[in-house]
């Protein structure tokens, strides 16, 4: 079997977000999180619920097992039985996320997706983030519009924020969490082939880097087989995150 690619480490890092989550909906956004969620269900988290991309909850064989139109989806969010992995155009050290626009909101330099469900997600169900290209443009000192609420903001609203949790941020360079005294971002693991200096260089704010820094874990042979032969046989993951060994280290 050929060497594990960066994209495949990212799949594993995303899949791990749903370990031990129980009977909840996994809502992956983005290709690699989607492969990760399905991998988790096929292996260590068989209880997970997944949709067909529309309004139907489907089992691993694609058979419908439930109905989840938007209105029920939103109730599932506020009921907390969901762990979403969203994208982020910008994210800051406390996990404030922006997907709405770049520049002044009244007349943005670049209109993006809009706030979508980020405000309700972050106050009600665990929300992780997936960032396929780690850079200073994404990991910023301050986001232009707070869509997903971060730890510093939610601290001002302890009651409404009691369900707030950002379990992890996964990028193409590593895994990050907020396990620090002030809930600022910490490097939790490096994908093999990446250095801490490289991550620091690509991050627009001061990052906590523990001395004893682990690598993102290796996929098992069975996981690798599932990723390559079952979940993403066309290898589209390699387009979302090109492998540095073959593509050359991207300039960040």
């Amino acid at each position: 079997m050929t060497a594990v690619t960066r994209a495949e480490y990212c799949v594993i890092a995303c899949a791990e977000a749903w370990r031990g989550a129980g009977e909840i909906l996994a809502s992956p956004m983005g290709l690699i999180p989607s492969v990760g969620a399905r991998l988790a269900r096929l292996t260590f988290a068989p209880e997970l619920l997944l949709t067909d991309g529309e309004a139907i909850l489907v089992g691993p064989d694609g058979a419908p097992e439930g109905w989840l139109p938007y209105r029920r989806h939103l109730t599932l969010v506020t009921g907390g039985r969901r762990h979403v992995m969203m994208g982020a155009s910008q994210i800051d050290r406390y996990g404030n996320q922006n997907i709405a626009c770049i520049g002044d909101w009244t007349k943005p330099r670049r209109q993006l997706l809009g706030v979508r469900g980020a405000p309700v997600n972050t106050l009600n169900n665990p929300t992780s983030y997936w960032i396929p290209r780690h850079s200073r443009r994404v990991f910023v000192e301050r986001v232009d519009m707070v869509c997903g609420v971060g730890y510093d903001r939610v601290a001002e609203h302890p009651v409404a924020g009691r369900f707030h949790r950002i379990p992890r941020v996964v990028s193409d360079l590593g895994v990050f969490d907020f396990a620090t005294p002030d809930h600022s971002m910490r490097l939790a693991s490096l994908h093999p082939g990446v250095t801490a200096a490289q991550v620091r260089e690509a991050t627009g704010f001061e990052l906590t880097v523990p001395d004893d820094l682990p690598w993102t874990r290796e996929p098992t042979p069975e996981e690798l087989r599932l990723i390559r032969e079952v979940l993403d046989p066309k290898g589209t993951r390699e387009r979302e995150v090109p492998n540095p060994a073959t593509a050359g280290e991207a300039v960040r």
Binding site: G30, T51, Y70, V120, T122, L123, A160
Partner: protein, 320 residues
């Protein structure tokens, strides 16, 4: 009993400039596009549009008909950013009330239930509060004492929705997997106009479908418009899926050129123009006289793109 059938132009003639208008569907899904096209033909402008935005918002924005938009996003789903919405926002073309998807839903519920607001746990701590200085919070009167956002009712003058079937009385039926919020839009508006793929006898509605597919009740409906292919180019499952090819064309063509070609006549003209566009496209494809090698390469690319699209589609639902 009142026969509420009318043409799209008749429905739109009941609307006025300056109104608050709700538009059903979600993103590029089951949008009442035939009614939106009729709206574009009319001179009606200065609208406050309330929508889980798709090309309805994009087209009305491109045509300069929106004074204010209430939305959580505007997307074409398989094309994440609605290009005309984006362009309009980047030149500050209209006022925006940007709220969260759930806040929006509770605003519809409040309006449908004639409540001034509904308390929601969304928005707090986010910049939704900064960009909507009019939003207020309420404190729970019970022992939890939680502070919540008082999402105001999104009451509308009129609503436009598109369904799979309807009878002449205004009972509307959806046959796809998701009702979206079309019933709420009709209940939250003073008047609702529904278009549908096919008008059928009341008895026929439940001949093959379960009664819970009867989403919109006639007591909320003021006009029924027969509009086959009326959601085009958005999806109207199971009658048809999204016309991805045409949507890509819409998204990549300058608005004046698109409007000139497709929106200068009535709905029949539009549908014929789309057919002509498709034929023209197929002929150009044939004329290209590609070598077998090129064709194969393209085919492979096509497959890859399709796979990519499918992957994307599988994420779409995760919009929230």
């Amino acid at each position: 009993m009142a026969d509420k059938t009318m043409t799209a132009d008749e429905a739109v003639s009941r609307l006025e400039s300056g109104m608050t208008l709700g538009i059903g569907g979600w993103g590029s899904r089951r949008k009442p596009m035939a009614l939106v096209r009729a709206l574009l033909r009319s001179g009606i402008t200065d609208l406050t549009v309330v929508s889980y935005g798709g090309p309805d918002v994009g087209m009305l924005a491109a045509a300069g008909r929106i004074r204010k938009l209430v939305a959580a996003f505007a997307t074409l789903d398989s094309i994440p950013l609605e290009p005309h919405y984006r362009a309009a926002r980047e030149c500050g073309a209209f006022e925006l009330m940007e709220v969260d998807e759930a806040m929006f839903m509770w605003g519809l519920h409040a309006a449908a239930n004639r409540l001034p607001f509904i308390p929601v746990r969304a928005g707090i701590g986010s910049d939704v509060m900064r960009v909507n200085p009019g939003l207020r919070t309420v404190r729970s009167p019970y022992e939890d004492g939680e502070t919540l956002v008082a999402m105001p009712a999104l009451r509308m003058d009129a609503a436009l929705v598109h369904l799979n079937r309807a009878d002449r009385l205004g009972n509307g039926q959806y046959l796809g997997p998701d009702p979206y919020f079309d019933d709420l839009f009709c209940e939250a508006a003073d008047r609702a106009y529904i278009s549908c793929e096919r008008i059928v006898d009341t008895a026929e509605l439940t001949k093959e479908a379960a009664p819970q597919t009867l989403l919109v009740g006639r007591h909320t409906v003021h006009g029924v418009v027969d509009a086959p292919n009326g959601a085009h180019f958005t999806s109207c499952v199971p009658d048809y899926g999204r016309d991805e090819e045409f949507q890509r064309y819409y998204a990549s063509t300058p608005w004046p050129e698109f409007a000139e070609r497709f929106l200068t006549g009535d709905e029949q003209h539009y549908q014929r123009a789309v057919q002509a566009w498709r034929k023209e496209r197929e002929e150009t494809e044939e004329k290209k006289g590609k070598t077998a090698h090129e064709e194969k390469a393209n085919e492979e690319k096509g497959h890859e793109e399709k796979a990519h699209e499918e992957q994307k589609a599988s994420m779409e639902k995760e919009g929230t």
